[in-house]
Symmetry: C2
Subunit: 133 residues, 2 copies
């Protein structure tokens, strides 16, 4: 009988384990660093398939890199343009947005809401640097 494609391969599981660690959002490179016997291509392939399966979520940031996170409750992201840190922010009306997009007749598979700006921490740092006396 013909072989069939695994839903989740051993390597996909190892990637998921890395994604369960302290840091919630990881780049492909960060995941690679924690799996040093594994090749680049393999990690990228695993990430692609985990996205297809809907287990993880890829965020494409304006910096040009992508970060990956487990799929959880809908939420939006805030990216600090100074320090690059990514914050999760709960967003209550994903369903409204989904409805809006679906209203055009398109089939919506995913919605990204991402804000960019300067985070509280960087604002305070700037304050201490220039505002001190």
């Amino acid at each position: 009988m013909p072989r069939m494609r695994e839903a989740v391969t051993p390597l996909m599981n190892r990637v998921l384990q890395v994604l369960s660690s302290e840091k919630v959002h990881l780049t492909a490179e960060e995941i690679l660093d924690q799996l040093d016997d594994v090749g680049r291509a393999t990690v990228y392939r695993a990430l692609d398939r985990l996205c297809e399966e809907g287990i993880i979520n890829r965020l494409s940031l304006e910096s040009g890199t992508s970060v990956y996170e487990y799929v959880r409750k809908p939420h939006m992201h805030f990216v600090c343009r100074k320090c690059g840190k990514l914050y999760d922010i709960p967003v209550p009306m994903t369903d409204i947005l989904e409805h809006t997009a679906a209203g055009s007749g398109h089939t919506v598979q995913k919605i990204d809401v991402t804000a960019y700006g300067i985070c509280t921490a960087c604002q305070q740092a700037a304050q201490n640097e220039y505002g001190g006396y």
Copy 2:
């Protein structure tokens, strides 16, 4: 007297002219194609500065490329994962999202709302291909 930086350089103007053409969303490559006496780096620099000035908007798509558009009324985007086409969709509650993000104390400079899925055109094409009789 010391020279000072132009707000909008001649080249930035040429880029804006290209962006005023039929197609609303253009990649850097598409803009380059229409300005064939201009170097890559120059176009990218102009695009960066136009973004800084708040005249145009950079969209970072999950395909890894960016597209640029004139800044207009707030709206969201729908990207078809099959044909890659980008649709504009009016979105009424950008202010709510902005407020949500600002609630965390961060300074919000920009909000991206992008949906991904299969567009009406591609759905119909698939229908005709497999559903015909």
